[in-house]
Amino acid sequence: MTDASIQSTKTDTGEAGFGDYFALLKPRVMSLVVFTALVGLLVAPVGVNPVVGLASILFIAVGGGASGALNMWWDADIDRKMKRTLTRPIPSGKVEEGEAFAIGITLSVMAVVMLGLAANLMAAALLAFTIFFYVVIYTMWLKRWTPQNIVIGGAAGAFPPMIGWAVATGGISIESVLMFALTFAWTPPHFWALALFTKGDYANAGVPMLTVTHGRKTTRNHILGYTFALAAVAIALGLTSVGGPTYMVIALVLNAMFIKGAWDVFRRTDADSEADSHKAERGLFKLSLAYLFLHYGALLVEASLKPFGLGGWG
């Protein structure tokens, strides 16, 4: 037995380092959860004690991470079949499936209970529903059943700003529902633009993606349709109490750019796309990343201007 083989055997026996367990929580997804939840909390009309706010954001992040661990536990079989997910802790053999399940359940319960104690029952109930929705409704039920899986999965990722808002206000309002709708309507064009230029191996894993089940032309149509819905939501959010002139200018520019990008993608054929290495699709995907960040950033700007009598609609 060589040193190299000893090394690989030991790595595959579940002797995971701390980082491997942390990777179960999907840190990149968690960063979006933290950012949008923080915006939801900060733009709310009610102030929150900084310690309570920090703890709440942390528990929302842990809850989101826990649902990621449960997703990896349930999807371990398909993660082993796809190149993109082969390096995840379970397929790589660093963490056992049972460990991921135990960590996911424990952290889920802990995050919900602690958020209830730190903030309020509404925020805790919304976090519990988010975890349930992502793990049971999306991961276990609909992901492998319908090509609209991206749309449904997007709803789970859209709840954090609502939870952040609930931490501050203890309730739900039109502003928080529209913040939810913004991320919800943004997710399909974002992921389908990506699906158009990546050679995904979802088909091998038995996951129905729109590009495979209904073809790439239908995917292009869907991107355009959701982009119009997204623009309507983004503008409507700007007309509420969390919006204002700064947000509106940024939203108008970004949505005009996004509609133009989606229109270009809609008009192209696959031959056009192959010819220039999916330039328009890549461009739309990159724009979508900036789009969401800048919209939430603009809401933060409005909120931070308010103490000086500048933010909002006066």
Binding site: Q7, K10, E15, A16, F18, N49, V51, A55, L117
Partner: protein, 53 residues
């Protein structure tokens, strides 16, 4: 001569233990901070009503 076994596995275990230790200490500090914040909030309305009187 004492047996000394330093292996990648031991490093991983050590990182796990240190990581968990930091998380637990952080959690205790957070709950302590939350308690202080909650108790302060609890007495704030009374303090302000006293000030009004």
């Amino acid at each position: 001569m004492a047996i000394k076994a330093e292996h990648e596995m031991h490093k991983r275990r050590f990182s796990r233990n240190v990581g968990l230790g930091i998380v637990l200490v952080g959690f205790v500090a957070l709950v302590y901070g939350l308690t202080v914040a909650k108790v302060s909030e609890l007495y704030q309305p009374e303090a302000s009503s006293e000030a009004n009187q």
